[in-house]
Symmetry: C2
């Protein structure tokens, strides 16, 4: 089973959309109605040995990144994060304080309240963060229309290049390393969505190719990529040379956002400090991503492949 | 650091009680205000090697018990569970379906909607369930008053005896085994709390002694135990003989409830099918649990001792 098949299985197995459940499993987060509000719910895990190795991953970053990954899913629905719970797998008590330094810094910077959690003795470090937010109108993966422009924030690929640098124990490339260790989810989306009419939205956790493909699949559309417009950074090119596109397309863990907007929108190249690149447009060629005559595979990280 | 010290550290580190946060870390679950409702939030983890061994723990029960442990925390605040998210650490894909059979059976029996979650490839099985409920007036650990009666549901100690039986690979004792594998959180509390005025409430996850002590600590009170009134079952006595009290007091994982009510309340011995035992009363002897002249230690499971 690939990850998509497992999600399909879960979708059939679990709660169906109904009056209380507005968005079920299969998007970045679930949306339920409660007390007249629409509430976004999500949880995510980082586990030693799966998502990082301890020798290059100081525990401070486990706290920060655990929070970032979870909150990114709230933004990826167009939601405003409010509360989190933090569960830790604890190898040594002495590390707990360091992890919570990261949690605390993140939560004060992103104005999220951490209201609870629990600790489990474990022989590997892990963090699981559940987060809850509020949304007026969720922006789903399924809303892309033919002709919409495909927009991406920041410089995807840098995070996975940073991981490679860390894994190989190389010196230098500190900006790439930082992008892997300490991602900044894109809270700017809450302002961008007020200004422009977004038709779909997802965060880049498993690679631009795979995450764009998720929009296409849920929207039943295809995409044409503008190869000269891809935001592949100088830093990434310096490190990866000819492989820069590979990191950009298949790397993952950037926690940037991909969204679609109606053609004709006057989108700036930057929203404040955040770069916005129009990397393509939506087509009717269902499930197919083309770049010129070339067909791009939606490669990227699949937990179950 | 003992678990209590870690919780104290977290309490100082994280969100403080304020207008939005009604109950923070340190009770069974957090309570926040959102859209005119009071929302109960909790998460809990079961991990292979920590909470169970794979050889005596069919994966169906991992799904059931993962849900049960989480939902029990909602009941332990007097809340009504509504939604859950389920995260799994997956060793083999083929087990996912079996786990979700347990999740699904639990969720339909307890009317909880599972609206999402995620799967992580792992080399051990684990489940983490986040749950969200609604509560009008949370029942905290901190509300016990001198003279209140201490009440406990069901037959604590059976679950940990069942664990022992399973660990030793013994045949028979199927009821004890079932109590460990498939706990039933006490949804009856939602009716009981309407009928009687409860002053404090907790669920029994780490042992009657330790969990009662948590009520005493938060309420700044003590307790006098009625040794002849302890609900130590026939099954438990048959298995454990003289050690029956040890299982009752220190065993844990029962997901029964301990609550306090004002003296003079006419409490029945059963609520429908659920046994209710008055096991003692609250005293002003802060932090001390007495049974006759004997002082009982609040022993029980501490993740960090």
């Amino acid at each position: 089973m690939r990850e998509e098949e497992i999600i399909e299985f879960l979708r059939n197995c679990l709660a169906k959309k109904n009056e209380g459940v507005l968005v079920d499993i299969g998007d970045d987060a679930a949306v339920v109605k409660l007390g007249g509000e629409k509430i976004v719910l999500t949880c995510d895990t980082l586990e030693e040995g799966v998502h990082f190795l301890r020798d290059y991953f100081p525990l401070y970053f486990l706290g920060w990144k655990g929070m970032a990954v979870s909150i990114s899913d709230i933004y990826a629905m167009g939601g405003e994060p409010l509360y989190s719970l933090v569960s830790l797998g604890v190898v040594e008590e002495s590390g707990v304080e360091e992890i919570f330094r990261g949690v605390k810094e993140f939560s004060s910077q992103f104005k999220v309240k951490v209201v609870g959690g629990n600790l489990v003795r474990s022989d590997r470090w892990w963090i699981e963060v559940f987060s809850l937010g509020r949304v007026e109108k969720p922006i789903l993966r399924s809303g892309a229309k033919i002709g919409d422009l495909i927009v991406i924030t920041g410089y995807p690929g840098e995070a996975s290049a940073g991981r490679k640098v860390l894994e190989e124990g190389r010196s230098g490339y500190s900006e790439l390393k930082e992008r892997f260790l300490k991602p900044f989810p894109r809270k700017e989306i809450l302002e961008i969505k007020k200004e422009f009419s977004l038709t779909s939205l997802i965060d880049v956790s498993d690679g631009v190719g795979r995450d764009l493909y998720r929009i296409l699949k849920e929207s039943e559309k295809g995409a044409k990529i503008f190869p000269d417009e891809l935001p592949i950074s100088r830093n990434l090119k310096d490190f990866a040379g000819e492989k820069a596109f590979h990191y950009f397309w298949s790397g993952g863990e950037d926690y940037e956002l991909i969204f679609t907007v109606k053609r004709g929108v006057n989108l700036p190249s930057y929203w404040k400090e955040l770069p916005l690149a129009i990397i393509g447009e939506i087509t009717g060629d269902v499930g197919v991503i083309k770049s010129g005559e070339q067909i791009l595979e939606p490669a990227g990280y699949d937990h179950f492949k």
